[in-house]
Amino acid sequence: MEDPVRASLDHCVKCTICETACPVAQVTPLFPGPKYEGPQAERFRQPGASADHSVDYCSGCGICSQVCPHGVKIAEINSRARAAYKAEVGAPLRDRVLARPGVTGPMGSPVAPVVNRVMANGPARWVLERAVGLHHSAPVPPYAPRSFQRWARSHRRGAGVHPDGRSVVYFHGCSTNWFEPDLGRMVVAVLERNGVQVRVPDQGCCGLPLQSNGLFEPARRTLRHLAHDLAAGGGDEPVVASSSSCGLMLKREGREILGLADEDLRAMGERTYDICEFLLDLHDQGALDTDFRRLPLRVLYHAPCQQRGHAMGTPALDLLRLVPGMEVVESAGGCCGIAGTYGLKKEKYGIAMAVGEPLFEQVRTGNPDVVACDGETCRWQITAASDHSSVHPVALLFWAYGLEL
């Protein structure tokens, strides 16, 4: 069988629609754009040989694949080509470090105060940039002193949750675990508030950073491992993810980009939900507690690229509009530029900032009380660049329920 990702290049009619939407091609001539990198260059590629390098500038945001009306899997083709390129030239140490939050996390957290001091320290960042190519201004959050998993292990089921009721597995992702454990606690609280029992098995990384850095083989191992972790001790409950990019990995990218054909992985992908998607489905079934208190906030909601990749609409927007007093405006699309670890790299930091500028400008001029966004790296990027605080939409629901940590 011919690989369906490659075969999809046949659908390209050169309409240029993807070019109008690619955030990177708009800001740098170094990147010739999705049509060129995807369906066009692919006709010149052969297995095991890499003839091009400009594909490394593709951030993997996936917007091109969403807007292509003809079903060309452009971003996926690019991702494969980048992996071939990396296999040929070898990935730099920096990419290998950024690609393994599951490894660096455990190293970071116990020594969090020290690491955080290094990361917050100007001269030290310059050294890091020189040594491993991590841009000195790139938004890198502090490590939390206590990981989410440590909290979860000692967490007792919330009041009102019936042991025989609905139950889910929570896939929290690395960032919640190491950087934003509070988000994980809010997710659990919001679910429990709605009578949903939440299981939090010990779990590792989904492999997305490895994949987006072109390191496919370790990415496959990592994702398989995750699926195994999440399945441990459970049946076939829904898997709920609070990171839109990591959730997408489980839903689709493992299959489409990494080419994993494992049956149990596919099955798990099918029962994976983004947290807002899950909550909105509850609402559609009349099972969501909508007893929100008034929150008179002006919120700018930004659906990150990876969230749009789910093709599930904007459930966060619909949920936030249930909160009385909240005034929610949707951002005019666009990309914040960070695209996972892309914008952290010194040769791409400038591009990422230019990509995000229209969005930052929207934030600055709109001057909302808070920005809501489903992607963690996007939130950090937006906050760093626009000086406005940003939260996951679930955090707003948490407050609207009047819950406390």
Partner: protein, 421 residues
């Protein structure tokens, strides 16, 4: 149509946008599900209503009654000439930045990037000064780095044209060598971004200083900025002290993107929900009504219940109509019968510019745009079909592309609304 539930519009091209905006404006919950963007991103962005029958049409309003009588299966015949006029008028009201001018009373004759003057009923204000009736003389300004526009080709053909009144036309090409910062391989979008910068506009005007005759009308590629185009255009006119008009380039189309952005924002403001990247892969029906649609998601599919469905999936170019290698023709969303593509009959003729039999194939509808079978019986009560999916037109030859989409998208929405009211 019974409850006031959500109405799903499939497709985000001109027809889908118009239908969703009209529905949302009327207070209905509308949701656009689209596989990707539509032809708005490629279109010349003039609202072509009727240009050739094949004789050149000077006034669409004047020509429509006879045209409709001669083409009873044409979408215009389905909705009626009055609706075409009403819909285009309504659309004009929504198009801001740039504003649109003209009406069905008279076609503009606007130079294309090949230098042919193409009839269009309504056009962005930034293009109107190109009308051939003015007779020029034209100075067509090129940017040598822009590979999708060749001023000498345009000017050369314009110089061979005569105005409808029979007078000769003067035209010449002028080049301004300004390239968008470091980009050698820049398309229209790259230039459009540069033109948003007032300094670039000033440089452009300065480069033309002293190179234009007093009476010349300036034709430029349609790249005068994505946002704020009207202001950019006005400012440039003031700077060069001559009328300026834009000429659509090869895709991506900057004026098309402007039109899309304005309509999409209006639809969202009016409350329409939009999911791009969501291909509709199936429907659930009970007999003669569609209950909802399935759309593809990252990990499977998702069901959207719907009170009514507007099918605006485009024609062959967009995948609204498809043909497989066995030459079996299909409408993929609802499996509607495709008329005018009879098996066995010749579908293509030897000459590229011939009228190929397949060209007018599409979905047959009644006057409410409900799909019908070969005997004219309605197939689904709560479905409306709009845009290039419809049978009976050869819009790229007639120059009726967006005219059909606007009229039928609007009529589809009205027909959903009135049937309920």
């Amino acid at each position: 149509m019974s409850d006031d539930g959500e109405i799903v519009v499939v497709g985000a091209g001109m027809a889908g946008l118009v239908a969703a905006l009209r529905l949302a404006e009327a207070g209905r919950r509308a949701r656009i599900l689209a596989k990707g963007f539509g032809a708005t991103h490629l279109s010349g962005a003039t609202i072509d209503v009727l240009g050739y029958t094949p004789a050149p049409v000077m006034s669409p309003a004047g020509a429509l009654p006879a045209f409709v009588a001669e083409h009873p299966d044409h979408p215009y015949a389905r909705v009626g000439a009055g609706v075409v006029e009403e819909a285009v008028g309504w659309l004009k009201g929504h198009l801001t930045d740039p504003r649109y001018v003209g009406d069905l009373g008279r076609n503009f004759l606007l130079p294309t990037a090949a230098g042919v003057c193409k009839p269009a009923a309504v056009a962005p204000q930034t293009m109107a000064a190109g009308d051939l009736r003015g007779g020029g003389p034209y100075a067509i300004v090129g940017l040598p780095g822009l590979k999708d526009f060749y001023p000498s080709l345009v000017a050369g053909n314009l110089a061979l044209a005569t105005t409808p009144a029979g007078t000769a036309v003067g035209a010449r090409a002028v080049e301004v060598d300004l390239s968008p910062g470091g980009r050698v391989d820049a398309g229209p979008l790259g230039y459009a971004r540069r033109f948003e910068d007032p300094r670039f506009r000033a440089d452009f005007a300065a480069a033309l200083q002293g190179r234009l005759a007093a009476d010349e009308v300036l034709g430029v590629p349609a790249v005068l900025g994505l946002a704020g185009a009207e202001q950019a255009w006005e400012e440039l006119e003031a700077r060069v002290e001559r009328p300026i008009f834009e000429i659509p380039t090869l895709p991506p189309s900057v004026p098309g993107l402007r039109m899309f952005t304005v309509l999409m924002a209006a639809a969202r403001r009016a409350g329409a929900r939009v999911v791009i990247g969501a291909e509709v892969v199936g429907v659930e029906t009970d007999g003669y009504r569609v209950r909802g649609v399935w759309s593809g998601t990252a990990n499977g599919r998702r069901f959207y219940p719907t009170a009514a469905l507007v099918l605006a999936t485009g024609g062959w170019a967009a995948g609204g109509l498809v043909m497989d290698s066995h030459r079996v023709v299909r409408e993929p969303v609802l499996g509607l019968p495709v008329t005018g593509a009879d098996d066995g009959a010749a579908r293509f003729l030897p000459g590229y510019l011939d009228h190929h039999p397949l060209a007018t194939a599409g979905i047959a509808v009644d006057r409410w745009l409900r799909p019908v079978d070969a005997r004219g019986a309605v197939l689904y009560d709560n479905v409306r079909v709009a845009g290039a999916t419809l049978a009976g037109a050869e819009p790229w030859k007639e120059k009726s592309g967006d005219g059909i989409s606007v009229a039928t998208g609007y009529h589809a929405a009205m027909s959903v609304l009135t049937e309920e009211g």
